[in-house]
């Protein structure tokens, strides 16, 4: 099967000498929902910028569905729909005009563009706003407008650079549903996000990038399975300063909140057994942090050592 994205030895040195990418290699399968994660300044946006030809590369090879960035740029561009991190449409143009114009740049006739505009703006809940200038939209609507705009030429690869930044939870979840839906219809999706819960919820495969290099590239399932220890927070009814939990690392974050590191092999039953034996009533329990977040921090730190 042709790879949706194939990157080999990608380097980018900006004016002034900063090396943003240091020979990055990356492959994304067709139909995948892929998360590209990394701390700020890791090189995510530079990578996306190069793929979408907004940034000139210094060296390396980029192919999208087999089309080479250097020799088949026009065809390569047709395959990609880009949802950038920052709003980059004219604030004075009307919503419908923005998406129809974008289709025009890809050679889609006006007639077809208007039909598609109705389809995608309706799907994204913006059809009612079609005759409003973009500046009149809320932040969430602007994000959805950028998704509609990116889909109008019906690309095979959709790249979303932090699409849910600053979007409320309800809207974020509706965007997740929509992205899952179009992924099931066959569109390959690459997503960068700072919400690791989002990546865990949506993506099948994951690449972690740090200091211009990929430090991990695997399936989400495999990555999460490498997590040996999870931290749980127990809210208890009464303070128990003398509590002893044999075989576990634990600490009191306040008089009524106990944090316990639980090894996968140990399980939670043993924790409850000991708490019950001490007469400690547990009111509620939750994970301390997102599982992926722990792995992410761990992998990035390891890569820097």
């Amino acid at each position: 099967m042709t790879k949706a994205l194939s990157i080999k030895g990608l380097r980018k040195v900006y004016k002034g000498g900063f090396e943003a990418l240091k020979g990055l290699d990356l492959e994304v399968e067709e139909g995948d929902f892929y998360a590209l994660l990394g701390p700020n300044g890791a090189g995510k946006s530079t990578t996306i910028g190069i793929i979408s030809s907004l940034v000139n590369k210094t060296a390396g090879e980029v192919k999208v569905f087999g089309y080479d960035l250097d020799t088949q740029l026009t065809e390569l561009k047709r395959q990609i729909g880009l949802v950038p991190q920052e709003f980059n449409f004219s604030q004075f143009e009307k919503v419908k005009q923005i998406v129809v114009n974008q289709a025009g740049y890809y050679g889609v006739s006006r007639e077809v563009a208007y039909q598609r505009a109705e389809k995608y703006l309706t799907q994204l809940g913006l059809w009612d706003k079609r005759d409003q200038p973009a500046r009149a939209l809320s932040g969430g609507m602007k994000r959805r407008l950028m998704i509609a705009r990116a889909l109008l030429h019906e690309p095979r690869l959709l790249i979303l650079d932090e699409p849910t930044a600053g979007v409320d939870i309800e809207l974020r979840r509706s965007m997740w549903d929509y992205l899952q839906q179009i992924n099931q219809q066959g569109i390959t999706i690459i997503l960068t996000t700072h919400y690791l819960e989002e990546a865990e919820h949506l993506c099948r495969n994951i690449g972690i990038i740090d200091a211009g290099q990929i430090v991990e590239n695997t399936s989400m399932k495999k990555l999460l399975s490498t997590l040996n220890t999870e931290t749980f927070i127990f809210d208890v009814e009464q303070a128990q300063p003398d509590l002893q939990l044999a075989g576990f690392n634990y600490r009191w974050s306040d008089d009524f909140t106990l944090e316990v590191d639980v090894d996968k092999s140990a399980g939670l039953n043993k924790v409850f057994e000991q708490l019950t034996a001490h007469g400690c009533q547990v009111i509620s329990m939750r994970n301390k942090a997102n599982r992926l977040e722990e792995l992410f921090v761990d992998l990035v730190e390891k890569g820097r050592k």
Binding site: S53, N56, T74, N88, S90, Y105, G107
Partner: protein, 257 residues
């Protein structure tokens, strides 16, 4: 150069550009009419009556082509410079950069939009001039050719300026410090034959002189310079500016990191 995809993209940019300046017609189409009316009243009627004849024509007749040309130059330049720079500033130029639109299409789309505004303004100013003088049309073909080439040159100039511009101030520097002096010294209000020899020679390096005189030849049938040379200068400037604009956009100067 274009297949149907390229043509649709070109049409899209052109319509977008025309929509932009028509949406703000009070700022784009009305001011030239007011400015030119003032020029006609002050320089044509009040001052012109005391000047008498110039080149065998009334002073009002003499300055009409130059004033129309002045509007064409200003509007061509400012339309493309401000529109392209705004696209850079708001980053919606990226909409085109990520798409398969070719560099030629981008240039032609913006230049086409600028020319549409400039030609519309030229028509408005010509209509205004009818209120003050009996305008003649000696060589319509020369008028059309000159106005098209001049507009194209300054649209390309505005595009090049916008490519390099980093702030809105940067797109007002050239019109203020270069275009306005060159236009005033380009024979809009006088015949260069009135100047001392040395200043006549200096004037010959001013490309706007050729534009104004070619245009005046189209209206009145007289020119301070050879009409063939004037058209040749316009063609050369068009080609050079197009080449420069193409190279800059192709390399992504000011628009790609």
């Amino acid at each position: 150069m274009f297949n149907s995809t390229g043509f649709i993209a070109l049409k899209t940019i052109w319509i977008k550009e025309c929509t932009r300046f028509l949406r703000i017609w009070v700022q784009t189409l009305v001011p030239p009419a007011i400015t030119m009316t003032l020029y006609f009243v002050i320089f044509g009627s009040i001052v012109g009556d005391r000047i008498g004849q110039m080149g065998g024509f009334t002073y009002m007749e003499f300055i009409v082509p130059g004033l129309i040309m002045m509007s064409v130059i200003t509007n061509s330049y400012s339309n493309v410079a401000s529109s392209f720079f705004s696209s850079k500033f708001q980053r919606n130029i990226e909409e085109m950069l990520v798409s398969p639109v070719s560099t030629n299409t981008i240039i032609m789309g913006y230049v086409g939009g600028g020319m549409a505004r400039a030609l519309m303004v030229a028509c408005i100013v010509t209509l205004v001039s009818f209120l003050f003088v009996d305008v003649r049309f000696a060589h319509v073909g020369i008028i059309v050719l000159t106005v098209i080439l001049t507009s194209m040159i300054f649209c390309l100039g505005g595009l090049i300026n916008a490519v390099y511009a980093k702030t809105f101030d940067d797109i007002s520097i050239v019109p203020t410090f270069v275009l306005t002096p060159m236009t005033y010294l380009g024979g809009v209000f006088y015949s260069v034959s009135l100047l001392p020899d040395i200043w006549q020679k200096v004037s010959m390096v001013n490309p706007i002189l050729y534009m104004v005189n070619a245009f005046r030849f189209g209206f009145l049938g007289v020119s301070d310079v050879n009409i063939g040379v004037a058209i040749g200068v316009l063609v050369i400037f068009t080609l050079v500016f197009y080449g420069v604009a193409y190279q800059l956009l192709q390399r992504g100067v000011g628009i790609r990191s």
